[in-house]
Symmetry: C2
Subunit: 182 residues, 2 copies
């Protein structure tokens, strides 16, 4: 239900193609939102039909023509309405990792430990990858119209980092506890 809103949010920053939208999601929202190209393209068409975005076709040789989408006034209104809506406080999420951990106690000590060690490494790797996001945010902070958004991005990024650090420390502790107590 939110993919149209995500797209409007990105197009409000600057016009871009479906392909660009995908890359932006991969680089900046992948920790809390993502979509495949096969979902993005049809959604863009729907948004165009509703008059919330409009496309400009740029011919290319050897590739399909680029379709650069930009947000319309109606689209901007829609985006702002969505941002002001109250969020129901339940915040439902699905995490394959947490789910796995929840039932992990079914396994033998050694199998539990190997899963925990594996997830610890994955978590450390995620934490390292945050550098790239930092650079993008700092650049945005320089761009005149984006200073306010960059401030929010910076704050959110700090939260993400804290959460990841908490997770890493927790995995380290969990491994010790399982080693001793089982």
């Amino acid at each position: 239900m939110s993919l149209p809103n995500v797209i409007l949010g990105f197009l409000n920053v600057e016009p871009m193609t479906g392909y660009d939208l995908k890359k932006n999601m991969d680089h900046s929202t992948q920790l809390f939102w993502h979509a495949k190209l096969s979902q993005i393209y049809p959604t863009l068409k729907q948004l165009e039909t509703k008059g919330l975005v409009k496309a400009k076709v740029v011919p290319q040789k050897g590739k399909p023509n680029k379709k650069i989408y930009s947000i319309t006034k109606a689209g901007r209104r829609d985006l702002i309405t969505w941002l002001n809506e109250p969020l129901d406080e339940s915040n439902p999420i699905k995490s394959a990792v947490f789910l796995r951990l929840f039932f992990l106690g079914v396994l033998d000590k050694e199998d539990i430990l190997s899963q925990l060690r594996c997830q610890l490494e994955a978590q450390r790797a995620r934490l390292k990858r945050t550098r790239q996001a930092e650079i993008i945010i700092q650049e945005a902070g320089q761009t005149p119209g984006l200073a306010q958004q960059a401030l929010m991005w910076d704050l959110l990024h700090q939260l993400g980092k804290l959460q990841m650090q908490t997770s890493v420390q927790w995995f380290e502790k969990a491994i010790l506890v399982v080693e001793k107590r089982l």
Copy 2:
């Protein structure tokens, strides 16, 4: 794709109905997994067809007959295979709250602040509700066959609490930053 596994995980603890499964999810996994009854019932049927669970019908007056499902040997094998599978390290998640925060910088200062305050309260409320889970976990720790699972549940619960505390503190800070810097 994981709902069958969640169901097997719960039925491995003790036999129960679809309705009970829903309640268990609402009380213990709601922070990282959930499902509606309209999805649980058909999934139970599929699992029965595959021989991973079996049902015992208990007649009732004035209500539909209870169907108490239990896990089979094949089901237990399936569960353990799943638990040992490697998780792809990308851990894709969707969070409506984070998404909202990501684009919140589009709004005016006062609208940003009212959303942040609202989310801070929601987060505090979530943190308070963790008491109930603590009690359930401690009870499980006493049950002989469940000690090892209860240990994992306790660890996970600690992580959940830490993450929520981190969020609360972050919201408090974010509100101050927005008040001063915008």
